[in-house]
């Protein structure tokens, strides 16, 4: 029987959730027996190669590319998981949600104390995805089936969740595994 596929991505996140996934230590060998990784930074597959059972999304949406990737995940995954606080509530990137975009750019590229920008350029290449007015939690953009809170969620949380889903059970986290920090 073909193994179910798992895809992962990091949108507006810090890769901490992915590091936490690697933190399952030797259980990763067991995981590889249970699933194949599809589109994911873990194996560097850039495009979906087939339908995935589970999609794990780290980070919220801060630019248009994040939105496209998230929509692509929704289209290609049976179960989509918001993994970590950034995916769930925007997290640290969402701290800019009450600051006008212009002010954010000015601080980042012109006025900030460590900025070196002799030509005073604000990056505006066509290749760069446009920044959204706000950072959006994933479930504000597409339907998310599960939320695993934490910054990052612990390796045990991720393991419990994956094992439950791969054995066709709903995710039921015990008290110690629901944490927001």
């Amino acid at each position: 029987m073909e193994k179910p596929k798992v895809a992962t991505t990091s949108l507006a996140g810090c890769f901490g959730c992915h590091m936490s996934l690697l933190d399952i230590d030797d259980r990763i060998l067991k995981l590889i027996e249970l699933v194949d990784f599809d589109k994911s930074p873990i194996d560097d597959i850039k495009n979906f190669t087939g339908r995935c059972a589970v999609g794990i999304v780290e980070g919220g949406c801060c630019n248009e590319e994040n939105v496209h990737v998230l929509q692509d995940f929704r289209k290609n995954c049976d179960i989509l998981i918001s993994c970590g606080d950034c995916a769930i509530d925007g997290g640290i990137p969402a701290m800019r949600n009450n600051i006008p975009l212009k002010e954010c750019f000015d601080e980042a590229y012109h006025d900030g104390p460590t900025v070196y920008n002799p030509n005073n350029i604000t990056p505006n290449d066509k290749e760069l995805p446009l920044i959204l007015n706000k950072v959006y939690p994933c479930h504000h953009v597409v339907k998310m089936d599960y939320h695993l809170p934490g910054c990052p969620p612990s390796a045990d949380t991720l393991w419990e969740a994956l094992v439950a889903l791969l054995s066709n059970k709903p995710i039921e986290l015990p008290y110690e595994l629901i944490k927001y920090d």
Partner: protein
């Protein structure tokens, strides 16, 4: 304490004495009723409604409702816990609660209540309100992003400290906590005041003591909020 009053919570007999609220009698009996704005020693504010119970079928706030002979109280029911979850969800989306760097995380009563009720994410859309932070005071700061308008600081400052440093201003969604000067530094607030230590969330924070307790050893890391009361049983 001349007369005992007997009533039921979730079918179990609880005894109390005249003048006690349902919350007080339940606490003494080791029955935990979830709450947020209530704090022992302060005047009950009755504002958060997390302690909503049913008394003979009618919804009441346990922290303000006096006990009465023979009444049947519902507390730990699926329906009431669902409503409590809704309230907690609303608190989370109506503020900016960045637990990952909050000094209060692990000791926060709002967060702990969400943990106890098993909330992985609030069901309502986040509002990302625009709130201010006042760090002018040498020993304290107030971060309104985290305030849940429980009224504890208002009451403690007025009744216990006799200073009235805090008061609510505005109404409805515009309601917020204010201080009786331009900034917190302009008030006579002291870090030793009762009001400095009653905030259930990280809105009023003492400076230079953040993150003192390591992760794993904080109040609600391993035991749900209310476990101390339930242990009395």
């Amino acid at each position: 304490m001349d007369k005992t009053i007997t009533f039921k919570i979730d079918g179990v007999d609880v005894k109390g004495f005249p003048g006690q609220t349902i919350m007080e009698a339940a606490d003494a009996a080791g029955v935990y009723i979830p709450r947020l704005c209530y704090l022992k020693d302060l005047t009950p504010h009755g504002s958060c409604r997390v302690c909503t119970i049913k008394v003979d079928g009618r919804a009441q706030a346990a922290c303000t409702q006096p006990i009465a002979e023979g009444v049947e109280v519902e507390n730990n029911t699926a329906e009431l816990n669902e409503k409590r979850r809704d309230i907690i969800d609303m608190f989370f989306v109506e503020g900016n609660h960045f637990c990952m760097f909050c000094e209060k995380s692990g000791n926060c009563e709002l967060q702990a209540m969400a943990y106890r009720l098993g909330i992985c994410a609030p069901k309502y859309p986040f509002q990302f309100p625009d709130c201010s932070l006042d760090a002018t005071h040498p020993d304290l700061f107030i971060d309104r992003n985290r305030c849940i308008l429980c009224g504890r600081c208002v009451n403690a400052s007025k009744v216990i400290d006799e200073k009235s440093v805090f008061e609510f201003v505005g109404r409805g969604a515009a309601k917020k906590i204010a201080v009786n000067a331009d900034t917190l530094a302009g008030t006579n607030m002291a870090v030793s005041d009762k009001a400095a230590g009653v905030c259930p969330v990280g809105a009023i924070i003492k400076k230079r003591v953040g993150f003192e307790v390591p992760v794993g050893k904080r109040l609600y890391d391993t035991e749900p909020i209310g476990s101390d009361i339930e242990a009395k049983q």
